[in-house]
Amino acid sequence: MRKFKKLSQNPLGQILLATLIFCFVFLALFLGLYKAGSSYIVKERSRRAVNLTALTGGAVYADGLQLVRESNLLLMAAATYDAIMVGRAIAAALMAPPPLDIAAVIAAAKFADPNKRKGIQTLQENIFGIGKPPGAYPLLVFAQAAATANENRLSIPPLYVYNHETATMQNAPVPNMALRFRTIAELLPDEPKSSFSLQHDGVRRYFSQEEIEPAHNPRFPKQMRVKKNSNSEYAGWWVRRETNGSGTNENQFLSKLAPAWVLKNLRSYFDKFKLDVTDRDDPPCHTFALLGLMKENQKNHPNTFYQAGETRVDAGGLAAWNLADPIHVNLEKVDLEAFPILRDTLKNFGSIPFLDQTLKESDLLNGL
């Protein structure tokens, strides 16, 4: 200490100390700049890698949707062939000498149906994973995206989320393309729907057909009420039928065509007959999102960067007649607020101290 004091009182020592401090300050500045710069580079690289991986997943997904259209075209051809065969059999049965035997005509039609549709529908089920995910094609989407993530230096296989807007926590991570089979029942007019309402303290509440029941009032046999055993705070309250809006008007129009019970039974019967493959949701939801991770390889203090990327695939329609319609793949700006599944997952991670610290160090939770 005495030596240091002596040195600081000597002009030469003062110069030496000043030089040392000067060098130290600039070295610290250089090191800080280097560290911040390298981290920024990794951050930019991870953002790019996640975007390119999302775009790749979206491209393969879009190709899959076009394949759905093409398979639907094949299905239509098969259905046409089946219809021709059945038609020929019916015509032959009708040409038979009288009396007309309806049962024989139906039997002939059933026997003549080659059901070429079935084979194609089974193929569609297995390829696109309809009703039993993951299918072969959604797995290809996963595999190609995982391979691209690896090529773009994302550290571990990222977490993928499929069609998250209409998915649940359970099925969002399972590769799927949000598809289903259309049924003949969907070609029938809609089941009559009525909407009912009541007004309380100036606020009108609306109820669906499922939420109401007859009020069992002999003076007003048609009076309805909110189901007595429901959890609604208005349970047992009388409701009135809405006269404006589509519900009642449509109801009146349809009731002229056929009684409600006939339509209901027809619908449940035709629900068994599958047609072509269509979107699971209306409006359609086809999104591919991922949460990627990139590590910066520094010796003592590894930095980890999380990034989220998402692409939306807009097809317009998957029917055979949409074959020539373009499919657009759009890179979305990820908004975690509109990402309920991921947000919930990350919030749960936040309760684990180690992961909480990791997430806080990344820029992923901004805005949460």
């Binding site: 110069i15 000067f22 600039f26 500045l29 250089f30 700049l33 280097y34 710069g37 390298s38 920024y40 580079i41 930019e44 690289r45 953002r47 790019r48 890698a49 975007n51 390119l52 775009l55 790749t56 979206g58 491209a59 393969v60 879009a62 190709d63 076009q66 394949l67 093409e70 290809l140 595999a143 190609q144 995982a146 391979a147 691209t148 690896n150 090529e151 773009n152 230096r153 499919i327 793949v329 890179l331």
Partner: protein, 155 residues
Amino acid sequence: MKTKKISKNQKGQGLAEMIISIPVLFLFAAAIIQFSVLFLSFVQFEHACGEGAREYAAGLCSKTSLAPVVFENLGSFKRFFDPKSIQAALQDPKSNAAGALDKLRGGLGVIPFLVNYDGAEWSISARCRPPFLFHIIFPDGILFHTLQQVYRYPK
């Protein structure tokens, strides 16, 4: 004679120290600024490569014309790069899985209308002309290099 007089004076000594130290101080400050510019150039290079790949994915350019697109996306940092030094070479994927998927795509692509997505992996390199202080250390410039892969629909 005059300098000798100044150096003997207390004020003159301070002035002489300042004359010596100010250029060094400025040199260090300039080095720090130029170091930042160098880092920003690399960040911009990474960004430009990503934008180039996105333009490819959007169908705005072909696989083989990525280098000019990368240069265009360098923005105000263009002056630190030689356009002729930017090279975007197509290469095979590094991992076996990605290679196998490419082979599968190629095989299925023989069947018409079946595979309508395509992509590539690029090894992109560019030579950065650093600002004058770093130019003394790296007279040939600094080579930046990155890899990226993306696929697009339709082909």
